[in-house]
């Protein structure tokens, strides 16, 4: 499903080269729930961004559903994301000028989804925001904003959901609600989930935990949450 092969990422900051990811290799089978953990600066978010095709690795390749996305053009990648990838950010990244419903509508409309309007309404109802459809992000709490982001990520029924510390900006109770929601939707849709987290409890709910340190895979622990 997701194949990461010898991926490295180097950036130049302040005139010197910094290695963010260093020869990372692993595969994620379909429908698996994976947590990527590690200290700050270990390259977790960068890796997630590379899987989504938001940036290109310096070397190595990334395959998604059998297609190599490292050679795809910017626009091809956008189309690919539209069809296959949902993304949840730590800081929500809703478009501030759009209402909750319109934020969910954006990917649906981009994909030319039939009855997009109804689907956006249903999704927001499913995340418990059926009565906040026409509120702007600024009128919503952090938890509500993240639920809108979750609804947006699931809008096009993606086969891969990437979540970058989805509860990082939320208090623990709200974070728990959002995680419950995310996992139930993942179960319902049968989505492959790759989640970056600092939270050991959230990591423990995943089927597999990959730990990064200084840009390298430190450990790759496959288990069952029930364990």
């Amino acid at each position: 499903m997701i194949g990461i092969s010898h991926v490295s990422m180097r950036l130049t900051a302040g005139g010197r080269a910094v290695t963010i990811l260093d020869d990372v290799t692993f595969d994620v089978p379909a429908k698996q729930m994976v947590a990527i953990v590690g200290p700050s600066g270990s390259g977790k978010s960068t890796l997630l961004g590379l899987i989504a095709g938001l940036d290109r690795p310096t070397s190595g390749s990334i395959r998604l559903n059998g297609a190599d996305i490292t050679d795809m053009s910017e626009d091809k990648l956008a189309q690919y994301r539209r069809a296959h990838v949902g993304y949840i950010f730590q800081s929500f990244h809703l478009i501030p000028t759009l209402t909750a419903k319109e934020n969910v509508l954006v990917p649906l409309e981009l994909a030319g989804f039939p009855s997009a309007d109804d689907r956006a309404g249903e999704l927001l109802a499913a995340v418990g925001l059926g009565d906040r459809l026409h509120h702007y992000p600024v009128q919503l709490s952090g938890g509500e904003q993240q639920r809108v982001a979750v609804a947006r990520a699931f809008a096009c029924r993606p086969s891969v959901l990437l979540a970058d510390e989805p509860t990082g900006n939320l208090d623990s109770a709200t974070g728990e609600q959002v995680m419950e929601l995310l996992l139930s939707l993942q179960r319902d849709h049968g989505t492959t989930l790759v989640l970056v987290t600092h939270d050991p409890f959230i990591a423990s709910t995943m089927q597999r935990v990959i730990a990064l340190r200084d840009g390298r895979v430190e450990s790759d622990d496959v288990r069952h949450p029930a364990d």
């Binding site: 978010s45 938001l54 994301r81 990244h93 478009i95 000028t97 759009l98 319109e102 981009l110 096009c156």
Partner: protein, 886 residues
Amino acid sequence: MFEFKMAWRETRGAWRHFVYFFICIAIGVGALVAVSLFASHVNRAVTREARGLLGGDIEIRSSHPLSVGGERVLATLNERGIATAHISELVAMAARHGSGAPISERRRLTQIVELKAVDSDYPLYGTLVLDPPHSLERLLHPEGETCGTAPCLGAVVQESLLIRMGLSLGDRLKIGQAIFLVTGIVRMEPDRMANAFSLGPRVIVSREGLQAAELIKPGSRVRERRLLKLPEGTLIEPIQNEVKERLAADSVRVSGYREAQPQLKRFLDQLARYLGLIGLTALFIGGLGVAMSVHAFVREKMRTIAILKTVGADTGTVVRVYLVQAVCLGVLGTLAGLSGGVLLQAALPSLLTDVFTTDVLKQLGVSPGLSAVSFLPLVKGALLGLLTTVLFTVWPLLAIRDIKPAAIFRRDIETMSAAERGRWWTRWGLNDRLKVLTGLAVLIGLGGLSVWQAGAWKVGLLFIGGLTLAVVVLFLCGTFLIGGLVRLPKMSSLSLRYAVGNLVRPGGQTVGMLIAIGIAVTIIATVSLVEKALLRQVGDTRPVDAPTFFFIDIQPDQTTDFVGVVERRTGGVKPELTPLVRSRLHTINGETVKVDEDHNADDKQEESKEDRRKQWYLSREYVLTYLDRLPKGNEIVQGHWWISGDTGTTPLVSVEEEAAKAMGLNIGSVVEFDIQGATVAAQVASIRKVDWGSFSTNFYMILSPGSLDGAPLTYVGTIHVPPAQEIPLQEAVVAAFPNVSAIHVGDVLDNFGRVLDRLSLAIRAVALFCLLAGGFVMAAALAATRYRRLYESVILKALGATRTLIGRIFALEYALLGFIGGTIAVGLSSALSWLVLVYIFELPWSFQPVVLCSALALTMGVTVTVGFLGTFRLLGEKPLAILRHE
């Protein structure tokens, strides 16, 4: 459809941002449409009223009465059902006669007038509006009133005559030997040539009146016009050709109504064309505002764009979203501009009213309302507005390509992109093929719009070339001067340091504001500089001994008495008398001069300038004189002046340089003149350069003494007198010689100044739209950086700065911006006015400190005012509320 939905959502959320975008387009389109609508209405009216403007279907014009044979030709036309009217036009002096309203010091006893004698059939076309609204016939033949011992002759006059002479209806005027009762006021005269210059107010009298005045003597300056009205359905051209042929011996000019007003039409067309180009400048300045708004908007929307790309929007989709948004806003701005233009065009005629002797626009029935002819200007205005929007939007939208979805992770997303930190060519995208090609396409597009608006390739390309050059100069000088501010030694004044800091900060759009305001001020200052130079040329450079009066139509038998009267009145000042006679060219080197009278105005457009010049020289009337010595201000450039006192056997002629060049005359060429039916052939002996600005009597053709013996000569007398003697001298001459007209040079120059002033006012009024657009561009730029300014001002406040200090920083910043922009604009306008004066008007350029300082002050006034209006509310913001949100 996603693009439309998203565009609407984005606009709804950021409408404040787009207010300026909208206004910038609306101002430009408004100015353009107002000018185009006005031009098309005038054009239609000139075409519609062509018969009325000529006064008939065909006009036969000459500077002398028709021969007996000619009169017979007209009589045969009458028999064929063709109506004729006889009109004589000449300049004459009117004097108060008998009692009237009390004479105040400022009222004149005598006044030069443009006299028109008409017969009972006048006018054949158009309406003569009189007050009281009686028939002209009745007003020109009043019953029951006596003037002296004879029954009164009536005269209807222009109101300005009554005002100048302090007369009212019922008072009497003496013109020539006749006394006239003023019976009415001419409110509108259909066939008064729409000239910018007139020598005096109109007086209309009957033909009997003209005869009684005894003004027409041999050689008098008179324009005889015969107007023909053909029966309905008759073709004009055959009759026109027939008349031309049958009256060939009378050396008359025959013209049909279609070609009657080419000068008026061309003048209005050209005025509209140049005003239109200034309107287009306003639109392009507005376009700059659009580009700056879009640029700022894209920067502001980087995160949104990155999110859109993250959720699967490709670059093309995002560009289309913002392009759709820009086009929709462009449509709205254009619609507002169209409505504004329709309202504005009503104001343009009032600016131009005084340009003409008569209220030509009212006479033509130019109405400010909309009609079928408004359609084309409205459509053109709409297209220009929309295309300008698109062209100015495309370039800044290209930046969307550079926004990577990964940018969403970066904290410094709203600071500077890598491209902006690079070398200048990278910053300007010169290493990016698409950007370079787009830039070229935009320039070609703008060039296309300019050519379309100008209606001529050359003018349009010159316009866009000049504008591009001005933008480049403003950009380079602006960048250099602002860059220079950074390198200045550390300033001790805190507020000045911060003000400079605000100007030089990247992303502040300082140079954009400079360009927008600089272009507007450059146009206004250039117009003022050219106007000042022209006025200076005709007024201030007048030699101290330039004549005060030209006395015209002095008969040969009056010369001795005239000199006597003048000497007595002035205490011995002797007037200079020059003999003259009117003529037309008959042959050049034995070939008959063919005057192409049939060409219509449209054909004329196609002709080259040289052809038009040649036609003008061949067809014009020449005032001939004979002189023994080369006059002052003349210089022989080829050949020799004849030997003084040697009358010779062959008449010789000295020709003015430009005329000789246009007509291909060389030393030895033979020119034959037609002097009222008699011909005089003369050999070109010399070619002269003439200083036309010398205010002396200058001539294109000067003949050798004896050449004009027997011709119906009259004399023109010139004299310089001190102002106190002017009115007494004029009155004495008019009293002694009623047929002599006194042309006051000062009045003529005042007239010229007034016309120039009105034209310049009309141009500046349209140029004001450029300034308005420039002001809004600056407002848009300030709005784009509003949050940054707000944030900085609250931090300064939090650190203890007072509102006064922050206000001073802003004021200094705007004043500095105005100073830099104004200085560049002043330099540009000086260069531009130099080009116009030296190459178009062939006049010297001079330094005009008052105009230049005013332009500088105007720029600083605009920047400080717009800046103040844009930022004064920031001063009142409470720091905590702002900082808490950070």
